[in-house]
Subunit: 343 residues, 2 copies
């Protein structure tokens, strides 16, 4: 009786082997799939494990090593971003493709406010996850400070502008903007506007700074928030100027598509009256008529790189920064006409 009760409270692989009438190695192989075990034997092992409430493999390892076998992402955005954003779902797909190989789960937590966000990171540290990936990086990001006080590996997505002990996954956001401006200047554009994302985001600021360096028209910079509404409002403002721009670069495709629609409703032809370009290369963009010039940002690849880096950090490697060469300008019809000089 005593041994049965002990087994029920905290079963071991030996208990499972005994009940199933096989060796411990066979129990292990039945779960790992590393050796071929007959279906009948497997069934016996699984039934014994079930009866004894024994948990094999990754969960057992988790208990032994105090690992969660999970990686966390905390999102302080509207849940809609998971459905409508171009970048985010593809990034998650890249992360999952790496985690699936090692049977690691992704803990995704959407939070409504900063208090909830801080609690979420603390819960991750307290056993929910072995490390986190930090998205939507700000220039002075309180989360980086918080994480510094927690015992939790983290990978920052973006080029954090201050010293940090965390790994960063950086991208070159400036080059495609400069390349696009050079293309527009060759077509005779001199009044080139930019509708930026929120300028306290690291990547929005990098795009805006490249714009300022390349265009020479700081009075045509507007700050949006990546939403269609903000793209439309900024476009209305720019087109109402006494000397309106002949080209507008938007920091994402959602704002670009909204701006593009607004300009057409005002009677402007694209690209003849107004050249338009976006960022992120939404899968809709190539199907518009005219098709939208954009910058492909390889979110899936970035997700893979960030996940691999985080797993390396969790395994005890020294954190380090990686630059992913992934942004690529895709020129399409929406920027394909010489500028009209009559504006």
């Amino acid at each position: 009786m005593t041994s049965q009760r002990r087994a029920a409270a905290s079963p071991t692989i030996s208990d499972v082997a005994r009940v199933a009438g096989v060796s411990k190695a066979t129990v292990s192989h039945a779960y790992s799939g590393k050796r071929t075990i007959s279906t009948a034997t497997k069934e016996r092992v699984f039934a014994a494990a079930r009866d004894l409430h024994w948990v094999p493999s990754s969960s057992a390892r988790a208990l032994a090593t105090h690992r969660a076998n999970a990686v966390g992402i905390v999102l302080a955005r509207q849940p809609e971003i998971l459905a409508s954003d171009t970048f985010f779902p593809a990034f998650i797909a890249g992360v999952e493709s790496v985690l699936a190989e090692q049977e690691i789960a992704l803990v995704l937590q959407v939070v409504a406010n900063r208090t909830a966000e801080e609690r979420a990171y603390r819960a991750m540290e307290h056993g929910r996850a072995d490390g986190v990936i930090v998205l939507d990086l700000h220039r002075d990001d309180w989360r980086v400070e918080l994480l510094t006080t927690l015992r939790l590996p983290a990978v920052l997505l973006g080029a954090y502008p201050h010293r940090t002990r965390f790994s960063c996954v950086r991208t070159d956001d400036a080059s495609p903007v400069l390349e696009l401006i050079a293309h527009l200047r060759r077509q005779g554009h001199r009044r080139i506007a930019h509708v930026a994302g929120p300028l306290d985001y690291v990547h929005s600021r990098a795009r805006a700074q490249a714009y300022l360096a390349g265009s020479g028209t700081p009075e045509l910079l507007r700050e949006g928030d990546f939403s269609a509404g903000s793209g439309r409002r900024a476009t209305a403002e720019l087109l109402a100027l006494p000397k309106r721009p002949t080209a507008i670069l938007y920091a994402n495709d959602t704002m670009a598509i909204a701006g593009y629609s607004y300009a057409r409703a005002q009677g402007l032809a694209i690209p003849d009256d107004l050249a338009v370009a976006g960022f992120d290369d939404d899968h809709l963009s190539e199907h518009l008529s005219p098709a939208l010039t954009s910058v492909a940002t390889a979110p899936r690849r970035r997700g893979e790189v960030a996940a691999r880096r985080l797993l390396a950090d969790i395994a005890g490697e020294e954190p380090r920064s990686i630059t992913v060469d992934c942004n690529q300008l895709v020129l399409r019809e929406s920027t394909d006409a010489p500028a009209r000089t009559t504006v």
Copy 2:
């Protein structure tokens, strides 16, 4: 020394209150946000909590109640589905919108094979999640059997055809198919084909059965796998028949768009030579030319309903089935022409 050591090992809200020099209620309010606390006081509370490694609120509740404060979804699909599928990301967004209110995390695990899938469910039961949502429901689903042996609440997405103790979130997949067939018959179509999803999926079968009931042309039923490639192959087969169909209904938009492109490449005009309709209403579908008729399936709302139902089950309510009235036929140009009688 003893009390300090005890505090370090297992700190309580009293320890935090003492170190911060405030009442326990103030510590609680600093985290809950239910009362206004000065920033300076909050900082003191947070610093004390940090020093003592005390975890507030949902995590503390989790420790007290042995709740994970997480809900799980195990996906035995390619990770790409997170980026490219119409249904899945919107469904997740709906789930997260409910979980965010209560600061509950979503544990998303993509698995490569059945052994990993079973392990993932067992890990959920052993503390990773308080319940799971089961997607891609099959007619005889081994996961339902497995879950019956685990102590883990579950919500099944779809009308499971056997007795089960789990809550189901059902939808009416038959009505929009019957409605669409009636529309096509009014336009003179008599040879209406259907490219189904895998027929062991509950929802694919429901659509195919409605098709058989409505069309009277069982010889024009083909089974695809929801991929563009399978849509194209089935379309090629159907168009090569001596008496080809004049209309094709596809079980999702991905197959429909692939079939539509194939038919046009063969010189057929849509809808004049061939009427085409999909399912799921991909956000690309209304932007195609001609725009694609489809069935909007409200994945976000289904995610919300499934999450609320699961939280109710976890809270101890009696499991039950809910039918979400969410499928809606959206007629567009791709089915908007009288059938040609010369086929």
